[in-house]
C-alpha cells in the first residue's frame, strides 16, 4: 500500500512541477507550487521523515506561497511570453538528466540497510542519544546538540534575510508606483467583507498559535522544533493579517520590535554557546550547563530551540508585514 | 671608507639627489645645485671603488633576500666598474648640459625631469653593480619606468605616441622574454649568480641553452637588436639631453652591458660556443649593423641619423659578445666606453646647434662651421671616434673586435666590420663637410653664434675625452683583461 502511495506522490510531484513551470498566470503558478510543496511533504512522511514533513508543509506550502502571493500582488499577474532560445539549456539539462539516470544504478537501493549512509555515523546517534541526551526525538537532539553549530548558522541565515528584506524594502516606493487611492484601501483591508471567513478565522488563529507553542516546547518528544514552531506562529499572524488587514497586523506586531526580538533570539542562541565556553566546555557544549551532563544537554536544547523559534517567527512576520503593507509603507 | 660601504652609498646618493630635487622644485638654482652635487658625489663613490677593482678585489654588499635563492645583492667586477665609471662620469657633463639646455629652451616642469634623471642614474649604477640576474632585472625595469616620463616630457600627441612605443617595446620584451628566461635559468641552473665562466655549464642541455640564449638576447630590448630596435628612433621626441642620456650613457649602454654580462657570467664563453644560436644571433647583429647604417644614411634629421647610428654601434657589442672569444669581449667592453664618448659628443653638438641656430635638418647646416666653429669641430672629433679613425679612441675597440673575430674563426665578419666603417663615414662626415666647405644659404639670419657656455664646455670636454682615450687605452684594456683570470695577454 505504501509503495502505491509513494509512486502516486512522486509522479504527482513531477506533474505539479511541470504545471508550475508551464502556467502563464503567475498566481496559478504559485498555487501549483503550493501543491508541489505539499506533495513533497507527503513524500517526506512516507520516507519516515516526520520533522521535515511538518517543516516543509509549514514553510514550503504555507509561508512561501503567502510570500509569492504578496509579491505578485505588487508586481505582475501575467508572464509576457518572450522566452529566450530554449533549446540549448534543454539540451544541456537533458544530458545532465541522462548522467544522473546512469549514476542512479550504482547508488544504493532505496531503504537498503547495507548502504554506507546507515553504517558509520547514523548508528552512533541512534544508540548514543538515549545515553547522552536521553530525549526521544533523535532529530531534535542532532539538530540542537550534535550539529548545533549548523543550526546556529541557520538562524543567522534567517536573520540576514530579515535584515535584507528590511533594508531592501526600506526605500518608500516612488509616487507614480503608488496604487490608486481606493485600490489601496480595498487591498489592505483584506477580506473583511467575507463574514464567514472572518468568524472561522478568529476561531482558528488562537488554536494555531497554541499548536505552534506545543510544537515548540514538545520538540524533544514529538516531531517539531524551532523551525516548524516559528513558521506555524508566523502563519497564524499572517492569517490574522489576511483576515483583518495588513495594517492591523503591522500594528499588532510592529516592525522594530520584530527586529529586536529576532536579534534577541539569535543572541539567546549565541549566549547559550558562550555560557558553555565560560563554564569550561567547548562552544555549544551543553553538558557543562548543569551538574548532570544529561540535564545540561536537555536544558541547552530547550533554550536553543526557543531561540530558533523566536527568530524564525519574528523574521517571517517582519517579511510578511513589509511585503503586505508595501503600498502604504 | 671601506669598499662595501661605497656601493650602497653610490646608489643612495642619486636617490637622495632625486628626493632633494623633487623637494626643492621651487628654487631652480638650489635644485640645479643638488643635481650637480649628486652627480659629482656618485662619480666620487664609483671612483673610490676603482683601485680595489684594479687590484683584482671584488667588493660586494648584500641588501635583502626576498626568497630563498633570490636576493638583491651587489658586487663590483671590472665590466661593471667600467660601465659605472662611464655612466657616472658622463653624468656630470650631461647634467651641466641639461641645465644649460633646459634654461636655453625654457622647457616647463623641469623638476620632474631632473628627478627622473637622477633615478635613471641610480638604476644605471645599480645595473652596473648587480651581483645576480634578479637584481639586474629589477633595476632594468626601474630604468625603463623612470625614463618613460623623460621621453614623454613634452606631453604633446607626438611625444605620447613615441613614449608609448618606447615603453611598449621595452616592457614587452622584458616581461615577455627576459622574465621567463630568467625564471627558466633559476629553475634549471638553480641560481642566478654571476660567476666568471658561467653557471650553465653542466646544468643546462645545449638545446635548451640555445633557446634560452634567444630569449635573453631578444629579451634585453635595450640592446636594440632588430626587430626590437623600434623604440630607439621613437625616443627621439624627447629633448636632446634626454636623447644624449638614452642613446649614449644610460639606457643603451645598460642594454649591451647586460648582454655582455649575461654571455660572460651566466652562459660562460666556452659554453656559449657550443650553442648553435650564438652564431644565429651574431648574424642577426651583423644584419642589424649594416641595415641600421643604410637607414641612417637616408635620414635627413640629424637626431634620427644619430639614433640609427647608435642602433648599428650597439650591434658591434652584441656581435662581440656572440663571438664568444675573450679578445672580442674585451673589445666589446672597450667599445662601450669609446662609443659613449663619441656618441655623446655628437648628441651634444646636435643639441647645441638646435639651441643656437634652431636647425635640426642636415641640409640646413650649410656654412654653419663659420658661425659655430667649436661645436662643429667637436662634432668632427666625435664622428671620427665613432667611425674608428686613428687619432680617436674608437679605433682600439674595433681593432679588438676584429682580432676577436679572427680568433673565433669568423674571418668573414672582418669584411662586415669594414663595410660598416665605410657606411659610418658615409653618414657622419657629410654634415661636417657641408658645415665647413659649403657657403651658407642666402637668407640665413646673421645673429647665429656659438651655443651658451653651459652647452659648449661639456661637448668640448667629451670630444677631448675621445681624443685622450686613444692614448690612454692601455689601463682600460688591462682592467678588461682582469675579467678573465689567468689569460692576461
Amino acid at each position: 500500500m505504501i509503495t502505491v502511495l509513494g509512486l502516486f506522490t512522486l509522479t504527482f510531484l513531477v506533474i505539479a512541477a511541470l504545471a508550475t513551470v508551464q502556467s502563464r498566470n503567475l498566481f496559478v503558478a504559485s498555487m501549483w507550487f503550493c501543491i508541489f510543496s505539499l506533495m513533497m511533504a507527503a513524500n517526506f512522511l512516507i520516507l519516515d521523515a516526520a520533522d521535515v514533513a511538518l517543516t516543509e508543509a509549514a514553510v514550503g506550502a504555507g509561508v512561501s506561497t503567502v510570500l509569492f502571493m504578496g509579491a505578485l500582488s505588487l508586481t505582475a499577474e501575467h508572464e509576457h511570453v518572450r522566452e529566450r532560445s530554449g533549446w540549448l539549456p534543454a539540451l544541456v539539462l537533458g544530458l545532465l538528466f541522462a548522467v544522473l539516470f546512469a549514476a542512479s544504478f550504482e547508488q544504493p537501493r532505496l531503504g537498503d540497510p547495507l548502504a554506507p549512509v546507515h553504517q558509520h555515523v547514523a548508528p552512533f546517534y541512534l544508540s548514543e542519544t538515549p545515553r547522552l541526551i536521553d530525549i526521544p526525538n533523535v532529530v531534535t537532539a542532532i539538530l540542537a546538540s550534535f550539529r548545533g553549530y549548523d543550526t546556529l548558522g541557520e538562524v543567522l541565515v534567517v536573520f540576514t534575510a530579515g535584515i535584507g528584506v528590511l533594508s531592501v524594502l526600506s526605500f518608500s516606493p516612488k509616487k507614480n508606483q503608488q496604487l490608486s487611492g481606493e485600490g489601496v484601501a480595498e487591498r489592505v483591508r483584506g477580506v473583511q467583507h467575507h463574514a464567514i471567513l472572518r468568524v472561522a478565522g478568529k476561531l482558528i488563529i488562537p488554536l494555531l498559535m497554541l499548536f505552534a507553542l506545543v510544537v515548540q516546547f514538545h520538540g524533544e518528544y514529538s516531531p517539531g522544533g524551532g523551525f516548524s514552531a516559528g513558521a506555524l506562529f508566523a502563519a497564524a499572524v499572517m492569517l490574522y493579517g489576511i483576515l483583518e488587514g495588513a495594517d492591523r497586523s503591522a500594528k499588532a506586531m510592529p516592525q522594530d520590535w520584530m527586529l529586536r526580538l529576532a536579534a534577541l533570539g539569535a543572541m539567546l542562541y549565541i549566549g547559550v554557546g558562550i555560557v558553555c565556553m565560560m563554564l569550561g566546555g567547548n562552544f555549544l557544549d551543553y553538558s557543562v550547563l548543569s551538574s548532570k551532563p544529561v540535564a545540561g544537554q536537555q536544558l541547552g536544547i530547550l533554550l536553543v530551540e526557543f531561540g530558533v523559534g523566536l527568530t524564525v517567527s519574528t523574521v517571517l512576520i517582519m517579511i510578511f508585514n513589509a511585503i503586505a503593507n508595501r503600498s502604504t509603507y | 671608507m671601506n669598499d662595501s660601504a661605497l656601493i650602497p652609498l653610490s646608489m643612495g646618493v642619486p636617490l637622495l639627489g632625486a628626493l632633494s630635487i623633487a623637494l626643492t622644485g621651487r628654487s631652480p638654482f638650489l635644485r640645479d645645485g643638488f643635481m650637480i652635487a649628486s652627480a659629482v658625489g656618485v662619480f666620487a663613490c664609483v671612483l673610490g671603488l676603482l683601485p680595489t677593482v684594479q687590484a683584482g678585489g671584488r667588493p660586494s654588499a648584500h641588501l635583502l633576500s626576498i626568497m630563498p635563492g633570490l636576493d638583491l645583492a651587489f658586487s663590483v667586477e671590472p665590466l661593471g666598474m667600467i660601465f659605472a665609471l662611464v655612466a657616472s662620469g658622463l653624468w656630470i657633463l650631461t647634467s651641466i648640459y641639461a641645465i644649460g639646455y633646459m634654461r636655453g629652451a625654457e622647457e616647463k616642469n623641469q623638476t620632474r625631469f631632473f628627478a627622473c634623471f637622477s633615478i635613471a642614474i641610480f638604476a644605471a649604477v645599480g645595473i652596473a653593480f648587480a651581483q645576480n640576474m634578479f637584481t639586474l632585472f629589477v633595476l632594468y625595469e626601474v630604468l625603463s619606468l623612470s625614463t618613460y616620463p623623460l621621453v614623454a616630457h613634452k606631453g604633446n600627441e607626438e611625444a605620447k605616441r613615441g613614449a608609448r612605443t618606447y615603453l611598449g617595446v621595452l616592457l614587452g620584451t622584458s616581461i615577455g622574454l627576459l622574465l621567463p628566461a630568467m625564471i627558466a635559468t633559476w629553475w634549471l641552473a638553480g641560481s642566478l649568480e654571476f660567476q666568471p665562466g658561467g653557471i650553465m655549464q653542466g646544468q643546462v642541455s645545449p638545446t635548451v641553452g640555445s633557446f634560452l640564449l634567444l630569449l635573453y638576447m631578444f629579451g634585453i630590448g635595450k640592446a636594440a637588436l632588430m626587430p626590437f630596435h623600434r623604440w630607439l628612433p621613437a625616443a627621439m621626441v624627447a629633448p636632446t639631453p634626454v636623447s644624449a642620456l638614452l642613446h649614449a650613457v644610460a639606457v643603451v649602454k645598460a642594454g649591451v652591458f647586460s648582454v655582455l654580462k649575461v654571455s660572460t657570467y651566466l652562459f660562460g664563453l666556452d659554453y656559449l660556443e657550443t650553442l648553435w644560436t650564438s652564431d644565429l644571433v651574431m648574424w642577426v647583429a651583423a644584419f642589424t649593423l649594416l641595415s641600421a647604417s643604410l637607414v641612417a644614411m637616408q635620414k635627413t634629421n640629424l637626431k634620427a641619423r644619430l639614433a640609427y647610428s647608435t642602433v648599428s654601434q650597439l650591434s658591434y657589442i652584441v656581435l662581440a659578445a656572440m663571438l664568444a672569444s675573450q679578445l672580442a669581449v674585451v673589445g666589446g667592453g672597450m667599445h662601450i666606453v669609446m662609443h659613449a664618448f663619441g656618441k655623446i659628443t655628437l648628441f651634444f653638438c646636435a643639441g647645441a646647434i638646435y639651441v643656437a641656430a634652431h636647425k635640426t635638418e642636415i641640409h640646413e647646416m650649410d656654412g654653419l662651421g663659420r658661425k659655430m666653429p667649436i661645436t662643429l669641430f667637436a662634432f668632427l672629433l666625435g664622428a671620427l671616434s665613432v667611425i674608428g679613425a686613428p687619432p680617436l679612441g674608437g679605433l682600439w675597440s674595433k681593432w679588438h673586435i676584429m682580432l676577436g673575430a679572427v680568433d673565433a674563426g669568423h674571418a668573414l665578419l672582418i669584411g662586415v666590420l669594414l663595410i660598416s666603417t665605410l657606411l659610418n663615414m658615409a653618414y657622419l662626415l657629410p654634415p661636417v663637410v657641408r658645415a665647413f666647405l659649403l657657403p651658407p644659404p642666402k637668407g640665413t639670419p646673421e645673429g647665429i653664434e656659438e651655443a651658451p657656455l653651459m652647452c659648449l664646455v661639456p661637448l668640448s670636454l667629451t670630444a677631448l675625452g675621445a681624443l685622450t682615450l686613444f692614448f690612454m687605452a692601455d689601463p682600460l684594456r688591462n682592467l678588461m683583461w682582469t675579467i678573465f683570470p689567468g689569460a692576461g695577454t
Binding site: A102, F146, G153, G164, N282 | F134
Partner: protein, 502 residues
C-alpha cells in the same frame, strides 16, 4: 577558559555576536561604522593570533559541542585556512577603515546599521567557511556570506544595483545548491560529512560513478561562486553597482573563498582516491583558466568603466589561480596559495584608488576623468603603483606570484610553454589596460572648471582615506620584498594537500 584554545571559534564568534546587536541599534551618525570597524579589527587580531598558532603547531582543530569529530562538527584550521582568514579579515578591515565617507555619500544615512550588520555577517560567514572542517557546515556559512553580500550589493546607489543583485542571487543560489547536491552524493557514498573523515572513507568506495558526479557538481557549483570564466557574468556588474567599500571588500576576498573550498575538496578528498578526477581536473579546469585569463584581460582593455575593468581583471586573475592549482604539482599549489594572498592586496588597493576617484568626481567612467593625475596626484599615483603590482613588475607582490606561477608552469615541458605564452600575453594585456588609465590621467589636461585653482569637487581625497590607501599600496611592496608569511604558510600547506603525491 584559555583564550588560545578557543581561537578557532572566536574568529567566527566575534562578528557573529556583534551583528544582531548592531542591527537592533537604531543608526545614528557614524556609530554603526565605528562598531563594525572595531569588531573587524578584533577579528583581524584574532586571525593573526590563530596564524601564529598554526605556524607553530600546524593544523589546529576544535570540536564544537564537545562531540568527537565524525559525530559532531569539527573546525580544522590548516595553514591555507589561516592564510585565507588573514585575507578575509584584512580585506574587511581595510575596506571599513577606508570607507565611511564613501559609504555615506553612496548609501545615505538611514539604515546604515542594517548594512553594517550584514557586513559583519558576511565577514562571519566567510571566516566560518575558512575554519570549518565539515562539508555541510561550509554550505551553511556560504549561504550566510552570500545572503549578506546580496543585501549589501542591493544597497548600491544606482537602480541597476537591483538587477545586478538579482543575477548575483540567482547564480549564487544555483551554485550553492549544486554544492549541496555534490555533498549529498559524497555523503551517500561515504556516510560522513567531515572533510577529513570523508577522505579516509572514500578509499574503500567501489562504485566511482556517483563520486565522479559529486566532484562534477561541486566543481560547477564552486566555479559559479568563484566567477570562473564561463560563469563570471554576474561579477563585473555586481562589483560596479555595489557601494564602493563593499566592492573593495568582495573584490579582495569573496571569490577566492570559493576557490579555497575547491582546492580543499579536490586535493584532500578527491585527488587521492579518484583516478578519473585528476584528468578531469586538468582537462576541464586548465582550458577554462587559460580562457579566463585571455578573455578577462581582453574585455578589460576595451572596458571604459574603471570598476567593470577591475572586475574583468579579477576574472583574469582568478584564471591565474585556477591554472596554478590545476597543474596538480606542489609548485603549482604554492603558486595558487601565494597568489590568493597577493591578489587580495593588489585588487584591494586598485579598487580603493578607484573608489577615492569616484568619491571626489562622482563618476567611474574613464572618459569623464581626463587629467585626473594633475588634480588628484596622490590617488592616481597610488592607482599606478597598484597597477604596477598587478602587472608584476619586480619588488611588488604581483611579481612574486608571477614568479612562482611561471616556475610552476615550466615544469610541464611543451604544455608548459603554451601556458607560459598565455600567462605572458595576459600580463602584457594588463600593461595595456593599466597604461590606458595612466595616459588619460596624465597626458590630458583637466577640464577647465569654472572656479579658479583646482576644479570644483576635484580636490585630493580626505586624509583618512589617503592613509589607508597608501598603507595597502605599501603592503603591496612590503610583501613584494618580505615574502616569509605567505610563503611560509604555502610551503606548510602544499605537502599536506598533495598528500605524498609528487
Amino acid at each position: 577558559m584559555s583564550l588560545v584554545h578557543h581561537l578557532p571559534i572566536l574568529v567566527v564568534l566575534v562578528p557573529m555576536f556583534v551583528a544582531p546587536l548592531l542591527a537592533a541599534v537604531p543608526s545614528r551618525g557614524h556609530l554603526p561604522w565605528l562598531i563594525a570597524s572595531l569588531t573587524s579589527l578584533m577579528t583581524f587580531a584574532l586571525a593573526i593570533g590563530l596564524t601564529g598558532q598554526v605556524l607553530a603547531h600546524g593544523t589546529v582543530t576544535y570540536e564544537l559541542g564537545g562531540w568527537p569529530v565524525p559525530f559532531g562538527i569539527g573546525l580544522a584550521v590548516s595553514p591555507l585556512s589561516a592564510l585565507m582568514l588573514l585575507v578575509i579579515t584584512g580585506a574587511s578591515l581595510m575596506a571599513l577603515l577606508w570607507g565611511p565617507a564613501s559609504m555615506t555619500s553612496e548609501v545615505g544615512h538611514q539604515h546604515q546599521s542594517l548594512l553594517y550588520a550584514s557586513w559583519l555577517l558576511a565577514l562571519c560567514g566567510l571566516s566560518g567557511i575558512a575554519v570549518t572542517g565539515d562539508a555541510f557546515n561550509i554550505f551553511v556559512f556560504m549561504e550566510i556570506s552570500s545572503l549578506a553580500s546580496y543585501v549589501m550589493v542591493a544597497a548600491g546607489p544606482k537602480r541597476q544595483a537591483l538587477t545586478a543583485t538579482f543575477k548575483y542571487l540567482i547564480t549564487g543560489t544555483v551554485g550553492a545548491t549544486f554544492y549541496l547536491i555534490g555533498v549529498g552524493y559524497l555523503y551517500m557514498m561515504t556516510g560522513t560529512l567531515n572533510v577529513a573523515d570523508m577522505a579516509v572513507r572514500l578509499a574503500d568506495v567501489s562504485s566511482t560513478m556517483p563520486v565522479l558526479i559529486a566532484s562534477g557538481f561541486i566543481l560547477v557549483g564552486l566555479a559559479l561562486k568563484a566567477a570562473l570564466f564561463p560563469m563570471h557574468a554576474w561579477m563585473p556588474n555586481a562589483y560596479r553597482f555595489a557601494p564602493t567599500p563593499v566592492a573593495i571588500f568582495f573584490a579582495a576576498c569573496s571569490t577566492k573563498v570559493a576557490l579555497f573550498v575547491l582546492i580543499r575538496f579536490d586535493f584532500l578528498i578527491l585527488m587521492p582516491h579518484l583516478p578519473g578526477h585528476a584528468d578531469m581536473l586538468i582537462g576541464l579546469l586548465m582550458p577554462l583558466s587559460v580562457a579566463a585569463m585571455l578573455v578577462g584581460s581582453t574585455v578589460a582593455i576595451f572596458e571604459r568603466d574603471l570598476k567593470r575593468m577591475l572586475g574583468y581583471s579579477s576574472v583574469a586573475q582568478i584564471g591565474y589561480i585556477v591554472l596554478a592549482f590545476s597543474l596538480l604539482s606542489t609548485a603549482g599549489l604554492t603558486a595558487a596559495i601565494v597568489h590568493i594572498f597577493n591578489h587580495g592586496l593588489i585588487k584591494g588597493a586598485l579598487f580603493m584608488a578607484v573608489g577615492t576617484l569616484v568619491l571626489r568626481t562622482g563618476t567611474s567612467r574613464l572618459d569623464d576623468l581626463p587629467g585626473i593625475g594633475k588634480t588628484m596626484p596622490l590617488t592616481t599615483l597610488a592607482f599606478c603603483l597598484a597597477g604596477v603590482s598587478l602587472i608584476g613588475v619586480p619588488l611588488t607582490a604581483g611579481f612574486i606570484s608571477k614568479w612562482y606561477l611561471i616556475s610552476a608552469v615550466l615544469e610541464h615541458g611543451s604544455l608548459g610553454l603554451v601556458l607560459l605564452g598565455a600567462i605572458l600575453l595576459s600580463s602584457l594585456m594588463a600593461v595595456v589596460y593599466i597604461w590606458k588609465v595612466v595616459e588619460v590621467a596624465y597626458f590630458r589636461d583637466p577640464p577647465a572648471e569654472s572656479g579658479g585653482g583646482t576644479p570644483l569637487g576635484r580636490r585630493e581625497a580626505p586624509l583618512g582615506m589617503m592613509i589607508v590607501l597608501w598603507i595597502v599600496v605599501g603592503a603591496n611592496f612590503w610583501f613584494g620584498l618580505d615574502t616569509r608569511l605567505p610563503l611560509g604558510l604555502a610551503n606548510m600547506e602544499a605537502p599536506l594537500l598533495m598528500g605524498g603525491q609528487r
